[in-house]
């Protein structure tokens, strides 16, 4: 599935990822935790190919394909999905229209016929209900005037519709109340089918009560410094990142 070897990456000539290794097998859920500034969000951007995120060393492959050679949209069509921490608004472009184009771009990649408007509408309505957004959200502009929680649920709706092989959730729990968190988690859990893999990036253990990870990794200073099972997240919850050294001991939990 996903294989990252000795990855080094920088933003504006500042090294952020410094020799990261990660293997994700089909069906696995990996949680990535770590203190602020550890490079958690950067990892998602580097893997998805965002402009301005330069890889200087190492490799990353998805289903055997070298991700680093592909454009952003090509990586997406290979099945890489990034749920944004702060989803941006696209005024005037309806959610419906946006997702239909998106779904059909994926289908084309896999040699499938595009969905008709009626077929797509049926799927979209189901997904919309699943993340408990009113159906008129399909007609509204992409994220236009959505609350923080609605934006996050909208991301999960897109994930459900796009059926990616690897989902990277970038702090999908931030700013959510317990009910919204439950909806997001249910959405993610419904997509766990033994094949699809997840990387759940989070600052807090809380999300992992709802989405049970197979592995937990601690990212600090651009590297994975500790890996374990779900119990590692509980340790972090209890004692913070103090084990990383003095500079992380305070103000983190």
């Amino acid at each position: 599935m996903l294989s990252i070897k000795n990855l080094h990456a920088s933003v504006e000539e500042k090294n952020i990822i410094k020799g990261l290794n990660l293997e994700v097998k089909p069906g696995e859920v990996h949680a990535i935790m770590g203190p602020n500034g550890a490079g958690k969000s950067t990892l998602g951007y580097v893997l998805s190919g965002r402009d301005g995120y330069e890889v200087s060393e190492g490799e990353a492959t998805l289903n055997g394909k070298n991700l680093l050679e592909l454009d952003v949209e090509e990586r997406a069509r290979e099945g890489l999905f990034l749920a944004f921490q702060y989803p941006v608004e696209i005024p005037g472009v309806s959610n419906m229209e946006f997702m239909k184009e998106s779904v059909n771009a994926m289908r084309e990649q896999h040699g499938k016929e595009p969905l008709t408007a009626a077929e797509f509408l049926k799927k979209a309505k189901e997904a919309c209900k699943q993340v408990q957004l009113p159906l008129d959200f399909l007609k509204r502009g992409v994220n236009e005037g959505f609350s923080g929680g609605e934006k996050k649920r909208n991301e999960i709706m897109q994930m459900i519709l796009l059926e990616p092989s690897l989902c990277i959730l970038d702090e999908s729990d931030s700013g959510l109340d317990v009910d919204a968190l439950q909806v997001v988690a249910d959405g993610v859990n419904s997509q766990r089918d033994g094949e699809r893999s997840f990387i759940v990036v989070t600052h807090y253990q809380r999300l992992l009560d709802y989405i049970k990870p197979d592995f937990v990794h601690i990212l600090a200073d651009g590297k994975i410094v500790k890996s374990g099972d779900a119990s590692l997240a509980l340790d972090v919850e209890k004692s913070g990142y103090a084990f990383l050294g003095k500079e992380y001991a305070e103000g983190e939990a």
Binding site: D51, A76, P87, P91
Partner: protein, 478 residues
């Protein structure tokens, strides 16, 4: 990112072909004898010739305006040919079967299948090729409803009183430099008359095409909607790709009598010139409508072509309770320059106007909105709302807004909102992460920006306008 967008914008002009059609073209140059020849070719009544000559003499005294935010070399009016017509038009065809097949192929290339339109679309089309109107479809059906839709040259023969009464009544022949020139040399255009209480049974549509080299196109359109009638009219324009600049100076006059509605939509895609600013059409157009009591005039324009655009479709809200609307999308890229907007002249009581302008600038282009809202002393309770939004793509283009507000009535209300935004890296990244390529992403974002205006276009033309924007924005993304 900006590099990707730039590539996406370097798209070739799709309507840039030239058709091999035998035509009769005047040698270039302009003097009174040329005007006499045009009038004679059209077998016009004497008063029309006199009117033209008066316009010409006024024009000689006038100065070319230079206040617009555009920059272009001086036009040599003696280097332009003022008349060109496909030869086969001499004996005007009575039906499509008699039209030169090459001409029909031209229209098909432009996506205007005249045959099909006549049969299926329920849209009546008048096609103007260089200086003459080639064919008007669907005439019998319109005649049944009492609607007159024909080339203005024909209207001058069949309905001279109507033409005489209204021509120049909205845009006087001395209105401005280009209107005066048009009044002197106009060659064809469409004439529409909707009788009292009649709802025109279909959309009326005119396609203009400049084909010959060094010709100017000076069409004149006159639409009269009698009391309580309704008409929706659309014009589309294209031209071949040439290194020389060509002049298009049109005049459109709308008369909406009491309780009448005129909806006038334009999809303008004249050749914009190449990426270095070579060639392209100078689009210097005067459009104005006069609305009587309870009447409504609505202008919708999608402007993507032309090297230089100078155009302010306006409404004179003369009658009480009359309504004026202006919805505009103007896209400039490469070296294009546009100075466009509207004038809303509130004369009557409780007159209302709405202005929604969306300017999109890309490449090295400059896009200016210029609008006047004038509340006259008798315009009690008049209202205007203006929204003027600019979208910038890349960092080498310009967006400018020149709003003029003149109020001489304390009870009148004028609102003006303006925004400027950019296609952001974040928006592009979101689209790409969802599998859309840059072209698709940019066109989707721009289409979203224009949505308020597109929804004002007749259904089938909204689709066309969306596609046109997509084509104008698409490119060879590497």
């Amino acid at each position: 990112m900006s590099e990707q967008i730039e590539q996406a914008l370097e798209r070739k002009y799709e309507a840039g072909f030239y058709s091999e059609i035998e035509s009769e073209t005047f040698e270039s140059g302009l003097d009174e004898s040329v005007i006499r020849r045009i009038s004679a070719m059209k077998e016009e009544p004497e008063w029309m010739l006199e009117w033209r000559l008066k316009a010409y003499r006024s024009w000689l005294e006038m100065e070319e305006p230079d206040w617009a935010h555009v920059d272009y070399p001086k036009i040599d009016y003696q280097a332009i040919s003022y008349y060109s017509a496909p030869k086969s038009m001499k004996d005007k065809p009575q039906s499509l079967d008699e039209v030169d097949p090459e001409l029909l192929r031209t229209y098909e290339k432009l996506g205007i299948p005249l045959h099909e339109q006549e049969m299926l679309a329920g849209v009546a089309v008048d096609a103007v090729f260089d200086s003459v109107s080639v064919v008007t479809t669907f005439r019998s059906k319109l005649e049944e409803a009492g609607v007159i839709f024909c080339p203005i040259s024909e209207a001058l023969k069949k309905y001279p009183d109507l033409v005489k009464k209204y021509i120049g009544s909205v845009v006087p022949r001395t209105d401005n430099y280009f209107a005066a020139l048009n009044s002197a040399v106009f060659t064809d255009g469409s004439f529409v008359y909707i009788p009292k209480g009649t709802r025109c049974p279909m959309e009326l549509s005119t396609y203009f095409r400049i084909n010959e080299m060094n010709t100017g196109q000076f069409e004149r359109t006159l639409i009269i909607a009698d009391e309580g009638s309704y008409v929706s009219y659309l014009e589309g324009c294209t031209a071949p790709q040439r290194d020389e600049n060509q002049l298009h100076a049109a005049v459109v006059e709308l008369v909406a009598m009491d309780d009448a509605t005129i909806k006038y939509s334009t999809v303008q895609n004249w050749y914009p010139g190449d990426e270095n600013g070579k060639g392209g059409i100078y689009n210097f157009v005067t459009k104005r409508g006069i609305a009587h009591t309870n009447a409504k005039i609505s202008w919708t324009q999608v402007e993507t072509g032309s090297a230089v655009t100078w155009k302010y479709p306006s409404c004179v809200l003369k009658g009480d309770n009359s309504v004026g609307e202006f919805y505009s999308v103007a896209l400039t890229r490469g070296r294009q320059q546009a100075d466009t907007g509207t004038k809303m002249i509130h004369v009557g009581k409780n007159t209302r106007s709405t202005i929604i302008s969306k300017g999109i600038s890309a490449g090295n282009s400059n896009n200016a909105y210029r609008g006047l809202v004038q509340m006259g002393p008798r315009a009690d309770g008049a209202r205007n709302f203006t929204e003027c939004d600019s979208l910038l793509i890349g960092d080498k283009c310009g967006a400018h807004t020149f709003p003029y507000i003149e109020s001489r009535n304390p009870s009148a209300i004028v609102e003006h909102e303006a925004t400027t935004s950019k296609v952001s890296d974040e928006q592009l990244f979101l689209c790409q992460q969802r599998g859309l390529d840059t072209e698709k992403a940019v066109s989707m974002i721009v289409n979203g920006f224009c949505k308020e205006v597109f929804k004002e276009l007749p259904m089938e033309f909204a689709v066309e306008a969306g596609k046109l924007l997509e084509i104008s924005l698409e490119g060879s993304v590497g």
